[in-house]
Amino acid sequence: MITIENLSISYGKKERVIDALELTISKGTINGIVGLNGAGKTTLLNAMYGLKSIETGGINWNGEKITKKAVSYLVTEPYFYSNITGNEYLSLFKNNNFDVKKWNELFHLPLDKIVDEYSTGMKKKLAILSVIKQDKPILILDEPFNGLDIETCRIIRSIVLKLKEKNKTIIITSHIIETLTNLCDYIHYLEGGKIKYSKEKNEFKDFERELFENLENKSIKLITELLS
């Protein structure tokens, strides 16, 4: 179980992005984190991976401080060292049980070519393979569906569901709410540096409708005013 207690993170002295956040994530579940741009989703994920200094509070995994040993992290825009091949990149992550060739049957990546020749979607697929290869109990996937075609999105969806069956804890952010509501067991809505609502996916659909109707109404008012 991941427990986040009283977590606060600031950029500089004034700008508090995460403010006394409390969240509990059960082992072996798929969790979606949603929020508007700048809500602090990536900051929260970075903190879970130990890449952001925490001001107060803490993040625990099974009662102990969470470490990188337990987490593999897919960043929104994966970057690769230039002039190395996909195979060479994957070989950096040690896991003898991971059959690269077999896994690549899903993604059809030209793993003998240098990564610089890959398209954005191919780079994302390579990063996803590296995250799966690490075989850690927690997977953090920041916008995993960005830049991918429909077929690959479905493949990733299936992989995530299978990983859940293997008792992995998965945390996903996405701007496509439908994807999350279809895939996740729980959805956490982040606003003003706090988790405003944590709901099971079925409950979230009503909340989502209400929330986005409000936001849309606000925008429509402003657009009408601006274009009048």
Partner: protein
């Protein structure tokens, strides 16, 4: 537009200087002063003034081939070649002033003409997937070498072969060792994504030790045949290639420590490049050699601190 972009360049330069820190700025200023005195003295006599110009032009040509903002400038500025020219003129300003002081106006004019020619050159890098057998011999963890050898494979092979084939000339092997040493230092100029550091799952000390060990091992592998061929023809000068090799081993250690002291994921640190350049210059002027040892100690502490941000969970 040109003035605005040059202004941005000055701001970028100021930011980098700011990042370097006060103490190191003082060291940098001292070394720069010595370099300028050296350049001033060299530009006072004829052939040396010519050689100094050629070295500066070569450095600018290398900069021009490697700069990554060409596409940005091309799509945002109609007169992008003017921007190149103004920038290169500013870089070679000190040299041009020294040449004019010593009445070598003809060399200065040739220099400016060469700058114009350089701005017209448009090298398109052909990114291909070289997968030679050599690539497979390089351990996967040495991704800097895999990448660097793949990028400069033909140049490295040509220099290596020339070094060995002409080893009966006394200067052939030392020059080849020197050039390959510099090339191998350039492999370290770019910071890898932090995932690639974390993938090692080692604490900072062990990580640095492994990097240094691999770097020196690979440098030894490419240097050994050249050193052996030198010894066959010039055994009485056995110490020459060994001194060059040891200097570059020290520089490799220094460069790794500098790289991780200024490490920023997925980017090149201008400060790191400046300090690696200083390291190279220091070994050309032996009076400064001890400075590299002192700087290495300082950078070791700094690199450990920087890496602990990513590898703190592996102690």
């Amino acid at each position: 537009m040109i003035v605005n972009l040059i202004n941005i360049r000055f701001k970028q330069f100021y930011r980098e200087i700011h990042r370097i820190g006060f103490f190191r700025i003082i060291v940098l200023l001292g070394i720069s002063f010595m370099l300028f005195v050296f350049l001033y003295l060299q530009t006072s006599k004829f052939p040396n003034a010519m050689y100094a110009s050629m070295i500066v032009l070569l450095l600018i040509l290398m900069l021009h081939t490697k700069r990554e903002d060409k596409f940005f400038l091309r799509i945002n500025c109609n007169h992008f070649k003017w921007i190149y020219f103004v920038e290169y003129l500013l870089i070679s300003l000190v040299l041009l002033v020294f040449l004019l002081i010593h009445n070598f106006w003809n060399i200065a004019l040739l220099n400016i003409a060469a700058l114009v020619i350089i701005t017209q050159l448009d090298f398109k890098r052909n990114r291909t997937s070289y997968n030679t057998r050599i690539q497979k011999w390089i351990p996967d963890e040495c991704f800097e070498w895999k990448s660097g050898v793949r990028n400069l494979f033909p140049i490295i092979v040509i220099i290596w072969l020339i070094g060995i084939s002409f080893s009966f000339f006394v200067g052939s092997v030392p020059i080849a060792l020197f050039i390959l040493g510099i090339i191998s230092l350039s492999f370290l100029e770019k910071g890898e994504p932090y995932q690639m550091i974390i993938a090692f799952e080692k604490e900072p000390n062990k990580f640095l030790y492994l990097k240094i060990k691999q770097q020196i091992a690979l440098l030894s592998v490419i240097s050994a045949p050249m050193i052996l061929s030198f010894l066959i023809f010039h055994y009485h000068l056995w110490y020459v290639p060994f001194i060059i090799f040891i200097i570059f081993c020290i520089l490799q250690v220094y460069a790794i420590l500098v790289k991780y002291s200024f490490y920023e994921p997925e980017s090149k640190s201008a400060a790191a490049q400046i300090f690696i350049g200083i390291g190279l210059v220091c070994f050309m002027m032996p009076i400064f050699a001890p400075l590299i040892i002192l700087l290495s100690l300082r950078f070791y502490v700094k690199a450990k601190h920087k890496l602990s941000y990513y590898l703190n969970d592996y102690y």
